[in-house]
Structures are given as C-alpha cells and as structure tokens.
Amino acid sequence: MPILEKRPVPSRFWARGTPVLAVLMTMIAGGALFALLGKDPVEAIRTIFWDPLFSEFGFYYRSQILVKAGPLILIAIGLSLGFRAGIWNIGAEGQYIMGAILGGAVGLAFYPAEGWHVFPLMIVAGALGGVLWAMIPALLRIRFGTNEILVSLMLVYVAENILRSVSFGILKNPQGFGFPGSRNLSEYPAAANPDLIEGTGFHWGGVAAVLMVLLAWGLLSRHMLGYQIRLSGQAPRAAHFGGVNPDRLVLVCMGISGALAGLAGLFEVAGPAGQLSPDFNVGYGFTAIIVAFLGRLHPLGIVLAGLLLGLTEVGGAIAQQNLGLPAASIKAFQGMLLFFLLAMDVFTDYRLRPGGSRKEAA
C-alpha cells in the first residue's frame, strides 16, 4: 500500500499546481453529478465555464462576473493578510454588513442633499463600520485570549440581526408603505456607486479591489509589516524573538480585513444592491474565505480565484435557466472546489511512496 510521507520542504510545484488540479477534479466530479441528474455533463460544464465569457451575450455576463468578483477579491485580500499570520477572521460577512449599514446610514442621513462630499464620507464610514466590528474579536483575543474564529463568526449573526432591525426600523424608507428596506441609494446620485463606464460592471469597488491587490503585493514583498506577517505565520517563535509584537499584529490584520470587508459592503449597498434590506448579505464574506485559499493567499492568485468564483456563480444561473439544473447542484459544485483544493493540498507537504519504503527514505 502506498503511504504518505512528509516532504522535507513543501513542494513548490504542488503549491502552485493544486488550484488548477482542484478545478479539473471539480469539473470531473461535477460533471458526474450533472450526469446523475440526467443532464449532459459536457454541456453543463461548458455552460458554466464558457458561456458567461464567450456566448452571444458574453458582453453582459462578463460585466456581471466583475460585479460578483469585485467584493470577493476585496474581502479576500484583507483576509489573506491575517490568514498568513495565523489570525483567523472568519466573520468578514458581519464586517461586510456593518460597513454597509454604517456607510449606507451616512448616505441616507444626507438625503436628498447633493454634493461631492457625500460619497467619500460614506466610504470612510463603510470602512469604519468594518473596522469597529473586527476590533471586537481582536480586542477580546488580546485582552482575554478568546478565540477570534468563534467570536468573529458569532458576530456575523449579531450583524445580521442589526441589519434586520435597521431595515425594519430607523433606516426604513419613509416612502416605502411600511415595507422593509432603505431608500434606494443607487437612485440617489450623490450616494450612488454606478458602473464607472456604463455596462462594464466596474464600479468604485473594482477600483478599490485593484488598488488593494497592488498594495497587498507591495506590502508582502517590500514592507517590514509584510515580513512580520509572513514570519508570524511560518515561525511564530522566531517572530517573537525577532521583535514582532503579536498583539499589534492582531490589531493590524483584523483591522485591515475588517476595513476591506466594510468597504466591500459599502460599495455593494450603494451600487449593485442599491439598498439595505433584510436579505442584503448574500454570503460574500464566507465565499471570500474560499477565494483566499483558492488563490493561495497570494494577491494575484486571489484575483484569479475571485474571477473564477464569479464565473461559476454567473454560469451556474445560466445553467439553471437553460438546462434546468437545480440550484442546489450548483452550490454543491462550488463546494467541491474547496473540497478538492484542500484534499490536493496534502501533496504540497506530503508525497506518495510505495508501501514499505519508509525506512529507506528516512
């Protein structure tokens, strides 16, 4: 029987190659799933991966991939910094919601005043909302040694309830006949975040995502903080002796990831979503975790992974409409992607050897 053997150093080939292999494995297993559902697997895979890009209406779908990928990339970039340092912010969804609420509230407070200052203030408030929400698990970890995974995750549910409360309460559209949801920010010019070039799906959130990708790249490769982040993740003890202040690192990493999640929420609520409603959040904060890992926590990888997830989302809906695939099968398909990635990841640190050769290798 073949056995797994730990590699002396992690394989660079496998670290780079697993995402590609995971996508291929997902296509095979997903195709099998679709075949079991009585659909043509080749057509289904083509509809999900090819049609959004190159079909007759690709011009529209390509813009929609950007709409989906923008917030995913923005959030994932922030998360990746913490993940590299071993700081696990799982609650980006909550920070995304709080950014949208605080940023949206600032916009609504100015309604119907016009002026160039409204949107920048909303951006600041959006980032602040995310930061404040992320500071709760950060400070609790520093002060009381709580687990930031649990605290940040639980705060997602708190944020969801705050969202419901404001949608039905103080931020409800006064002209909405008692129905929940705020005024539509995308119809309020001073607060709106429309496509910068109509029909491209590229709004200020896209600009922010591109900017942050470049900043993160620079930070990780050139800046002292980036070095400290990498060191803390790879060798915590060395980092300690190297003078890294772990508390400060927690604050910085949680703060950055919270700010970016909050920004993503603000750009979404003022742009594609348009309004705060009880169901405003659709899981970007959680999907971004998949994006971060699929992208190997590398800025460029995250861009590719974000686009890929956006692609399957848009393609999945087309497959539903054209082929009658159930929505649940598309979700399962996306889940497989992470599953295979984690499974294949084993080969980065381990290699397969024929049975019985363990001693020789040692």
Binding site: S277, D279, Q321, P326, A327
Partner: protein
Amino acid sequence: MKRRSFLTSAALALGIAGLGAGAVTAGEKVKAGFVYVGPVGDFGWTYQHDQGRQAVEAELGEQVETTFVESVPEGADAERVMTQMALGGANIIFTTSFGYMDATIKVAKKFPNVKFEHATGYKRADNVSTYSARFYEGRAVIGTIAGRMTKTNKIGYIASFPIPEVIRGINAAYIHAKKVNPDVEFKIVWVYTWFDPAKEADAATALIEQGVDVIMQHTDSPAAMTIAEAKGIMAFGQASDMSKFGPNAQLTSIIDNWAPYYVERVKAVIDGTWESQDTWHGFKEGMVQLSPYSDKVPADVQAEAEAMKQAIIDGTYHPFTGPINKQDGTSWLAEGEVADDGVLASMNFYVEGIEGEIPQ
C-alpha cells in the same frame, strides 16, 4: 458632480441590445421566465409558483416555453437573472418575491418590449404589472376555525417578517378567532425568514411549550406541520396542502393558487392584449383557496367556515368590518365601516387585543 460627468457619454451597450428583445413574432413560441426566491421543493411559496408555471405549460402547450431559476438572492443577483432571461428571449418574466421590486423596475426599463409581472410589490411601469392575493380572506376563515377548535385557548402564530401582508394576516386571524371565542389568546413568534425549516421547527416547539394547541404559520416550509403532527396538536398549512406532512394535525390549508392568473397573463402576451395592471385577487377569483377540511373539524364549524367564505365571495362580508380598534385602543373602523385597500396594503399596526409589539 464631476465624479460621474464622464459616464454619460459612454454607450449603453445593454440598452441597445434591449430594444430588440422581447417582441413577440407570430408563429413563434412565447417564452415565459420565472424567478424564484426559494427552492421549488419548499412545499410552500415557491412550490406554488412553480405549480402555476407548470399549469401554464400544461394549458398552453405548444404555444409556450417556460424556464425558471430558483433560490435567487434579492439585489444584484436578481437583476442579473432577470437580464439573463430577457437576453435569452423571454417575452414575459414573473418575479415572485417582494424583494425583487427595484430590480424588476430597473431591468424592465432596459427591455421595454418584455413584460414583467412582479408579485406583492407596489411599483409599476408600462411593462410592469403587480399582483398579489388577498390571503387575509383565508386567514379570517382559519381564524374562525382555530377559535372554535382550541381547547387551551392559546393559538400559536409563526410569523416571517413584520411587513403589511403578514401583519394583515395576524389581524384577520385574530379578529375572527376572538369573535367566536372571546377567551382566545395569540402567541406570535417572529422568525425573520420565509424558509428555514430548522428555525420554523424551533418556533413551533417553543409555541407548544407555551401551551398552544393550534399553530398557524406565515412561513413556507412544512416543518411546523411536522412538529404539530409529532406532538399531537392541530395546525393550518400554508401556501400548499401540507396534509401529507400532518395527516392528523392539518385542519385545512390556505392555498396560493397562481395558476389561473399565470395562464391568463401568458395568454395575454400570446394574444397581444397584455397591459400593465395591479391585481389583488382573493377567494372570488380562486387565487386564494382552502384545502379540504380535516374530519376533525365538526360539521357545524365546517358549515360556519364555508358560510364565511361564501359571504366573502358574494361580497356581502369583508373580513375587516368595523367596529375595530387599533391595539392602543384608538378607533380604526367605525361600526359597519369597511377597511379600504390602501390602508390594508400598508397595514403596520395590530388590532386591539393582540399582545406584544410589532418588532421594529
């Protein structure tokens, strides 16, 4: 406003594509798209809309082709799916959740030749109709039955979101339960979801622990019905006949019957007679129905329920007829006065006697 001044000059790629889409050509199949907020297997809201879609296929056969996308989140995703349907050649698109309202209006603007039908909203346009059902008529009847059937005089109500439609249903049920049983008390649980079997089941269990022996729900899954069956109490189904989940528990079920409306509207597109309108149908038009009463409901109660239903159909009785006071004791409807549709459509208060506050 410099920020956006350079945007206006950009061409509306989508607008150009939109102009041609949607026009019906003679001899071609009419395409009808349906956007669902839940899964078609929810046995409630979305399930019934899908039954309507299937009725369109069955009834109009070769003349029509239908497609649907399920579990579509509100907001940007809904907008994309609607656009996708319009680009795919749909002539009429049914958007079956309140939260799709702004997206529907937005997409409708880009595709002036495609007809849109938005369920339960209030924004219309030349190519956007709205439609909803007077479920409160059904709630008045089940309220009467509940008032007669309860032994503990405690009736449980699983409510989704504090929106006018849900509040209207609670009021209608309460007024009529109270009328036949002055000792009746309502226990209301807000679950803030339309479809979450686990949460709905928890709510049902909590209500039963408070001594409730009849459960009504304004959520979509049959989870509460299953709990009622297991605990041996009574319940009313929602949206579809849920008797297979509670053969002993279910007294009757309010059924949303969208089929006649969907067939009529798709046919109007085929005939070229479609016009934007606002529809609010009830028992009379068959959009609201009751599933067969359980044997547990005594004959005289069945007769009473049927008489009320008939009176509503004939127009001789309106479920909101005064005197009715608001919860705070102020007068809402004077003796013999009937509520007008405008007030009903935006109802945001409980009637007198209901305990607790509407969550804000």
